[in-house]
């Protein structure tokens, strides 16, 4: 009996030590969750300074983009404790705020003297506020991003191609300023043989499952004059979503897909685009600014081989918004540590280093610095893009709204079903149904 009691006491002590040790480890640890992509590596590097200053060990959970939303939203909704900090997509903010998944940061910002006016207005609006545009902050703008374009500068500079292009289109082969010009360039390169290899015009987004084709097509739609509502906040979509300009934009995107993409490019997003560009298959690639630092460093197609340009205008200059804010997960066991990280991250010096490492700062002090435009070959384009960004619905029901658009666009652009007008008309029906369920439109 005595032996049994001794054994039980030993097990109890061991368990206590283990639990106490774990609590101590949790208090000195922070887990930051984000997507697995180039900027995440830059953040790991940047966070080493925070570890030195605070004594807190940083852990990272990076999830590939196609699974990022599912994984993180499941994590938060199930009350998981994996993440203390989350760099979540801008569209999640409505749902995360309403469901109490994020900590509201207003009081913390006031206490620490962090001013939202110090950040680019478009990023504060998109990454931090809910309800949109109100001074209710759920995140600190962390990673500015927009959809832009990469092109093979070395191919564009070839004298024989320059001459041929000029004789054909009566202008220089250069960075396209409009979508019409972009299509001409793409057609020019499509099927051409360069350095003994058949190449294609452009890699654009056509992915069906997550958000790809919506992010790609809206890059054209916004430039052609597409709007979500006739008046912001009215949820009146008739005449905006399916306006003649929107129809033209969608028809254009389909024509670009049909004329100038590589074979088999029916379900492609950022990863497929990067593969096509890096393997020398395409002359131009639509993709996020976030990939530009990595591409510029690429041994094969980086440096002098690559150039960057902002999304072309047509009727208006506009770019599809990417990027994210950093939020504190309400369920964290280390609230103080998480807030300390936000405070540290908001500092000007840290933001400058963030930009130098390959992250995209949203801080005015970094963006308005006179040396910023020349600091990287894509810096000036980034400023241009951020001046005209437009984002998808940021409603709590964004997932249903996004999936409806994915379906209607893919059905029309890739599967050749119906007309652009029909696709956008059906989209209004889908979205109206969602907003009725949400109580935003009366039945």
């Amino acid at each position: 009996m005595k032996t049994m009691l001794k054994t039980a006491a030993a097990f109890g002590l061991a368990a206590f030590i283990a639990v106490a040790g774990q609590s101590k480890a949790e208090a000195s640890e922070l887990t930051l969750c984000w997507a697995a992509w180039d900027p995440a590596n830059a953040l790991v590097e940047l966070s080493k300074d925070f570890e030195k200053q605070s004594g807190i060990t940083m852990k990272f959970e990076f999830v590939p983009w196609p699974n990022f939303a599912d994984r993180m939203l499941n994590e938060m909704n199930s009350g998981g404790k994996l993440c203390d900090l989350l760099i979540g997509d801008s569209q999640w903010i409505g749902g995360a705020a309403e469901n109490g998944n994020y900590v509201k940061l207003n009081d913390f910002f006031d206490k620490e003297g962090i001013k939202m006016s110090d950040f680019a207005p478009a990023t504060v609006y998109a990454y931090s506020t809910w309800p949109k545009g109100t001074p209710n902050y759920w995140a600190l703008p962390a990673m500015g991003d927009a959809n832009g374009w990469f092109y093979r500068k070395d191919w564009f500079a070839k004298s024989e191609l320059q001459a041929e292009f000029k004789s054909k289109y009566n202008r220089d082969l250069g960075v396209p300023k409009t979508w019409d010009e972009l299509k001409q360039v793409a057609e020019f390169f499509q099927g051409r043989e360069i350095d003994g290899k058949k190449v294609y015009g452009a890699a654009i987004f056509t992915e069906r499952a997550s958000e790809g084709i919506t992010m790609g097509a809206t890059s054209a739609l916004y430039s052609f004059g597409f709007k979500y509502e006739t008046e912001p906040g009215s949820y009146r979509m008739e005449g905006a979503v399916n306006s003649p300009d929107a129809v033209k934009g969608l028809e254009f995107y389909k024509s670009l897909y049909k004329c100038c993409t590589p074979p088999g490019y029916t379900d492609s997003y950022m990863g497929e685009g990067l593969d096509a560009f890096k393997s020398g298959q395409v002359a131009m690639m639509m993709n996020w600014f976030a990939f530009m630092p990595g591409m510029y460093k690429d041994e094969k197609v980086g440096g002098e081989h690559v150039g960057f340009f902002v999304n072309p205008a047509q009727k208006v200059a506009a770019s599809t918004l990417g990027g994210q804010g950093i939020s504190v997960v309400a369920n964290t066991d280390n609230m103080d540590g998480a807030l300390a990280y936000i405070k540290w991250f908001a500092q000007t010096d840290v933001q400058k280093k963030w930009w130098s490492l390959g992250g995209y700062s949203c801080l005015n002090a970094v963006l308005n610095d006179p040396s910023f435009k020349d600091s990287q070959p894509f810096a000036a384009q980034f400023l241009d893009a951020m001046a005209g960004v437009q984002d998808f619905w940021q409603e709590p029901a964004y997932a249903s709204l996004l999936q409806a658009m994915q379906k209607r666009l893919h059905d029309y652009v890739v599967a050749d079903q119906g007309t652009a007008q029909e696709a956008l008309d059906k989209l209004i029906v889908d979205w109206t149904e969602v907003f009725k369920e949400e109580g935003k439109i009366n039945n």
């Binding site: 749902g95 069906r208 379900d267 997932a399 999936q403 379906k407 893919h410 059905d411 599967a415």
Partner: protein, 324 residues
């Protein structure tokens, strides 16, 4: 007789040992229970487990199907919507398009797998030289994981470097990159039918082979005495006697393919557009991409009732064939 005695003796010894091992208190308590109560005592854990992991989720799903619940928005108040989701689903053109895509997939895969599977079983049953080796080779595809098969065929179908396009090009002279098996509206449904047939025909073949080998030789010997031709033997003996096995294979493959998800998701993801969006892909999109938990619960119940109902009708037909 002696064997039974031995078995009785062994069982008796084990029972005696068990009785000696039981503490008197427990033994007293058990002695006070009826046979029925003891039977319930033994099956209760299994029933509780079944209730917890099968019956409760089913009842919960039925409940959710009458609400507007969304799993990604747990704080949203749950309201009862009556039969709205059932009405919406049954009147939705998109759902019917998905059911049509499912029917197309199920019909053609079953037809091809049954024809090819039975044909292969018939050949293997001849017991030619090396038939064991060929049986093993034929069985390989069904032993692979659907995830491996999906990715493997995705590369084969790649228009610029895929082997499939090159083989088609070799026999037809068509430019390999001029057609896309997975990206074309007309070809993509067939691309998944080809892969499913490649993978699961061996399974049908195995069941048919079991059927063919269960036919006694003396029936064929009697038919030969009666001078029945090989064709006559096939139609009058082989096919009718193997039919219950063929029908069983059709039932298994039918149920499996009705709820097919993994391979379609890997190969086309339901695209291009919604061309290969079978019912299970639609269900996944509603449940885990749009997060319409109530709606998707109703859809799951409709699919469950459809599969359960069709399978029941089919099993009755199968029993009738067996009794003949």
């Amino acid at each position: 007789m002696s064997m039974a005695t031995t078995e009785d003796g062994t069982a008796g010894r084990i029972a005696d040992q068990a009785a000696r091992g039981t503490t008197p208190a427990i033994a007293r308590r058990i002695r006070g229970l009826s046979d029925k109560a003891i039977a319930w005592l033994f099956i209760a854990p299994t029933i509780l487990l079944l209730l917890a992991i099968n019956i409760f989720p089913l009842i919960w799903t039925i409940y959710l199907s009458f609400t507007n619940y969304q799993a990604n928005r747990p704080n949203r108040p749950i309201t009862h919507v009556g039969t709205k989701w059932y009405q919406d689903i049954l009147s939705s053109p998109d759902v019917w398009a998905a059911m049509q895509a499912t029917a197309h997939f199920v019909f053609w895969t079953i037809l091809l797998q049954t024809l090819i599977g039975f044909g292969l079983a018939y050949l293997i049953d001849r017991k030619f030289r090396g038939h064991a080796f060929w049986t093993t080779i034929i069985l390989i595809p069904m032993m692979l994981s659907p995830a491996v098969v999906g990715n493997f065929w995705k590369f084969l179908y790649q228009p610029q470097m895929g082997l499939f396009n090159y083989i088609v090009s070799f026999f037809t002279g068509i430019e390999p990159s001029s057609f896309e098996m997975l990206g074309s509206v007309s070809l993509s449904p067939w691309s998944i039918i080809i892969v499913d047939t490649w993978m699961w025909t061996p399974y049908v073949m195995l069941i048919c082979l079991a059927g063919l080998r269960s036919i006694p030789d003396y029936i064929y010997e009697a038919a030969e005495v009666d001078r029945a031709s090989p064709l006559r033997q096939f139609w009058s003996i082989t096919l009718p006697m193997a039919l219950p096995f063929i029908m069983l294979a059709v039932l298994f493959r039918g149920i499996e393919n009705f709820k097919m998800f993994d391979m379609v998701n890997l190969l086309t993801g339901g695209g291009p557009g919604s061309t290969t969006e079978v019912a299970s892909i639609t269900l996944k999109r509603e449940a885990f991409e749009k997060w319409r938990t109530g709606y998707s619960s109703a859809f799951a119940i409709i699919l469950f009732v459809a599969v359960f109902g069709l399978a029941n009708i089919y099993v009755k037909a199968l029993n009738r064939v067996k009794q003949r």
